[in-house]
Amino acid sequence: MDAIMQVEHVTRRFGSGRTEVVAVDDVSLSAAPGEVLLIMGPSGSGKTTLLSMLGGLLQPSSGRIRIGDDELTQLDENRLPDVRLHHIGFIFQDFNLLSALSCLDNVALVGQLNGLSRKDSRQRARDLLEQLGLGHRLTFLPEKLSGGEKQRVAIARALVNQPTIILADEPTANLDSHHGHETMRLLRRVAREEQRSVIIVSHDQRIKDIADRILWLEDGAFKNVVEMAADPVCGMSVDKDSAPAQVMWQGRTFYFCAHGCRDEFLADPETFMPDQAN
């Protein structure tokens, strides 16, 4: 499948001479439709710098970043806001909702920025919020919402312009366990059902469960790439390289957390095909 985002040998330096710092060093990655990519790493490893570059908020010192047909690194600064608006949905650690606007207006505003009429953008925002279970909170100000609800509004805002890529910065950091899982499930659903690439930067080990691939960033470079897959039977995330069992079925490879799951799958594969599942 064609990658939605292609990052090739991207480097970002700050300062020069003796004070030069290489925040991101020759990083390459790609993100496919429907894929959840998790970038992990210690503090100061360059995650934020990388995320800023992926989002078109910071230009690399060298290398190329391509989203669809647009090569961000070749684009004029004036065109970057349009790329962000049309192709990228942002989800932030602190939700970053506009405190003076209601849930509905927070989401609708982004649609209006994209040229939708007020009526259409509000309708689309309403639909999205209702889909995310916030139909009863449309007129609430962010301060009246729980952390999980705020993050769902932020997700709705990220989706309102139907972007191809979702960039999420520590999306579960300020959420309790329940709301963290809820957000993770939602992001996975967004990736799977709507065929968007979801790139998450996080310290949260729980997110590994929904990631298709995990990239470990350290000192500005990827040290180890772990490709994850969801066990089609129990839904658990498993490392493809060390999965206890794997099966080829109709030209695809499925990975299992245990032989029991593999046997259950083989008994009736159709039941567990991803197309059938939620």
Binding site: T48, L57, P81, N96, L101, D105, Q112
Partner: protein, 368 residues
């Protein structure tokens, strides 16, 4: 963006009220002084404009009444009257003096007029009579009210006692009032062969401008002016006297309004810096953010302006009750001047926040 501007503005009610209130007070300062001066102008020319005269004839070089002294001879008056288009020429004597009522003095123009002449007396008497006899006076109701005087009471003018027989309305201004006595009494108190002004009534269809020009051509010792021009000259005196004060107050109001609006807008933008950064990261362009700041400035100034107009109107109702003779009149010129100042304030106040937003780095949203 307008919705966001309004929500940002009204989110914190106290700050909203302080911001709009500050602007309103600054604009009020400008509007009130303008309205006060306009009101004074109206009051000052009230006698002239209520006189029903078509032309005022004064001594050559004298173009008004306020702070002026004019003397024309009876011959001058007859010469003016000797014009085919002139129906009547009514003499008045005029000076500035005080009306003494017991313990207090009230500054007043004293006008001596002939009750048998058609012009020169009060345009309208609200209470009592306009027909004066010896030792009788007509004063303004605002003076009567402030001094506790009524018809039949006595006042002292130019050292002589007069009985109040009539009350006019609207002839008291911020500086003084107008009182009427008979021409004969005036001549007795200030003997002389001259009169101050002649008030002419011209025939229907005649042009006062042409008649005045003809009088001036025939007699170089006098200056005849159509009432409209005479009134305009009188107003100009007030304007000339107040222009410096008006400019200072306008500048003060403009600076206060600018300071309040700029400070409110700047702190509001600073407080919302993170949110503007989010908008920029999401894809909002600088012009989107400028439009939010501009709309906030426009909204607070518009609300402040409307509040200021409302307050001036309210003051216009209250002040004359508390201070007789002090009226406020909102004029188109005054409102336009304040509107222009408001626009200047809006543009200037939005500059700093716009500059701040232009420099805002959207990548800051990832640095929590």
């Amino acid at each position: 963006m307008f919705n966001l501007a309004w929500r940002n503005l009204s989110q914190n009610r106290t700050q909203f009220l302080l911001g709009v209130g500050g602007v309103a007070l600054a604009l009020l300062l400008m509007l009130t002084l303008d309205a006060l001066l306009a009101g004074s102008e109206e009051d000052l020319v009230a006698y002239i404009e209520q006189s029903d005269a078509d032309i005022f004839v004064a001594q050559a070089g004298v173009k008004n009444m306020h702070m002026a002294a004019s003397a024309i001879t009876w011959r001058d008056l007859r010469l003016a009257e000797h014009n085919a288009e002139v129906i009547s020429a009514s003499p008045i004597l005029y000076t500035t003096s005080v009306v003494n009522a017991g313990d207090s003095d009230v500054l007043s123009y004293i006008i001596g007029f002939d009750p048998d002449e058609p012009l020169g007396g009060p345009g309208e008497v609200a209470v009592g009579t306009a027909v004066l006899d010896t030792d009788e006076v007509i004063i303004d109701d605002a003076v009567a009210r402030s001094q506790g005087l009524a018809l039949g009471d006595e006042v002292e003018i130019m050292g002589h006692n007069f009985t109040i027989v009539g009350l006019t309305h609207g002839l008291t201004n911020i500086v003084n009032s107008v009182s009427f006595i008979s021409l004969r009494d005036f001549q007795m108190l200030r003997p002389g062969d001259a009169v101050s002004y002649a008030l002419l009534d011209v025939a229907a269809g005649a042009d006062p401008v042409q008649v005045a020009a003809a009088i001036n051509d025939r007699n170089p010792d006098v200056l005849a002016l159509p009432t409209a021009e005479f009134s305009r000259e009188e107003r100009q005196i007030i304007r000339d006297m107040s222009v410096e004060i008006l400019n200072i107050m306008n500048l003060s109001g403009l600076l206060i309004g600018l300071a309040v609006t700029a400070l409110t807008l700047y702190t509001s933008t600073l407080r919302k810096r993170q949110e503007y950064g989010v908008l920029k990261a999401i894809g909002a362009r600088n012009h989107h953010l400028y439009s939010v700041v501009a709309a906030q400035a426009a909204l607070s100034l518009l609300l402040g302006f409307v509040a200021a107009i409302g307050l001036v109107w309210l003051l216009g109702q209250i002040i004359p009750l508390a201070v007789p003779g002090m009226g406020l009149a909102l004029t188109r010129t005054g409102i336009t001047r304040v509107l222009i100042s408001t626009l200047i304030i809006g543009v200037a106040a939005a500059l700093a926040p716009a500059w701040q937003l232009a420099r805002l780095d959207p990548a800051q949203v990832f640095r929590s």
